[in-house]
């Protein structure tokens, strides 16, 4: 079974802090994704990566950056956290191809105070 592990289940940070959310997958998947999930808005794509060192902006990249130095790890960075970034963050991975299912981590519920 694919295992996608997110470093924290719950996280509380302060406005202006630099926040790192980590995601590791164990299935050698090339593609990795970061979403945020808010009530009534579904899943919105922040950034994705097709392979190591590659990154592409999703639908809502403002205020975020990412890092993919190793194939198994995809990090989401909030450069200067703001209260409107309080949300559930979900990481996902898959093998390449539009018809491949995505495997999600358990999510990180991030609160910015």
């Amino acid at each position: 079974d694919v295992k996608v592990t997110q470093s924290s289940r719950y996280l509380v940070k302060r406005t202006g802090e630099k926040v790192f959310l980590e995601c590791v997958q164990d299935m050698d998947h090339e593609n990795m994704f970061w979403y945020r999930q808010d009530p009534g808005l579904g899943l919105r794509l922040i950034y994705f990566s097709y392979d190591v060192k590659m990154k592409e902006k999703g639908d809502i990249p403002e205020g975020y950056s990412v890092s993919r130095e190793k194939k198994e790890r995809f990090s989401l960075i909030l450069e200067s956290a703001s209260t409107n970034q309080t949300s559930m963050y979900l990481c996902a991975s898959r093998t390449p191809g539009g018809n491949q299912p995505q495997h999600f981590g358990d999510g990180t519920r991030l609160s910015i105070l």
């Binding site: 009534g40 579904g42 794509l45 592409e56 299912p101 995505q102």
Partner: protein, 112 residues
Amino acid sequence: GQQVMQIPQYQHVQEGEDFTTYCNSSTTLSNIQWYKQRPGGHPVFLIQLVKSGEVKKQKRLTFQFGEAKKNSSLHITATQTTDVGTYFCAAPIKAAGNKLTFGGGTRVLVKP
């Protein structure tokens, strides 16, 4: 704007009854996927439909892909409390660079 629309947003169902949730797109889709997210959990892949008019079943769940490949439905018969959760459809959208685009989800609540 949202390219994959799901209706209804909420569905209250009496235990034992049937219900259907719908997924619609203005563009022809190459395939469509369905996911289920239990309360407090993460989305889990259920199934993928590829062919026009395709119908697939998983126990009490029936998934259908429209003839024009622009819509899909999920029908659940004899709803149980274990069906509680949010059901998402998702499809690669050409206008979005073929990235998997998720619908807003249908949140299902079951009344015992």
